[in-house]
Symmetry: C2
Subunit: 76 residues, 2 copies
């Protein structure tokens, strides 16, 4: 069983990495770029029987800083 977790900064939280990437892309001549947001994607190999609730708990305890980050989980 696999789970894919996306962790992104919440709207309104300054994203310095995203800003840096945006400036670099504009500097390379990619004029079509507006906003850039960068986050983490974590792919977990889980033993059978693991549930989305387990992954939610992993996010709450470790994978995401829920003060400034939001997360989404895809089980497969």
């Amino acid at each position: 069983m696999k789970a894919r977790v996306h962790v992104m900064l919440k709207d309104g939280v300054l994203d310095p990495q995203g800003e840096a990437v945006r400036h670099a892309l504009l500097g390379l001549g990619f004029g079509t770029v507006g906003g850039v947001r960068q986050g983490k994607v974590i792919e977990l190999d889980l033993a059978d029987g693991a549930t989305e609730a387990d992954v939610t708990e992993m996010c709450e305890k470790l994978l995401a800083n829920t003060v400034i980050e939001s997360y989404s989980i895809q089980m497969s």
Copy 2:
């Protein structure tokens, strides 16, 4: 127009961040965790008219280190 780019380390490339997360999850008692791979997700706001080819070029030039990383693009 939006594009979402996933950048992950290629298979076979050591993922120290993933290993650190794995050990931490095991330490927190999440015994169901096997492998952990961590990568980047980059969300781009693009002007109308931007194409997937543009985003591919952004990945090749800046967003991914194609020697050790692979990337996938979702336009929306």
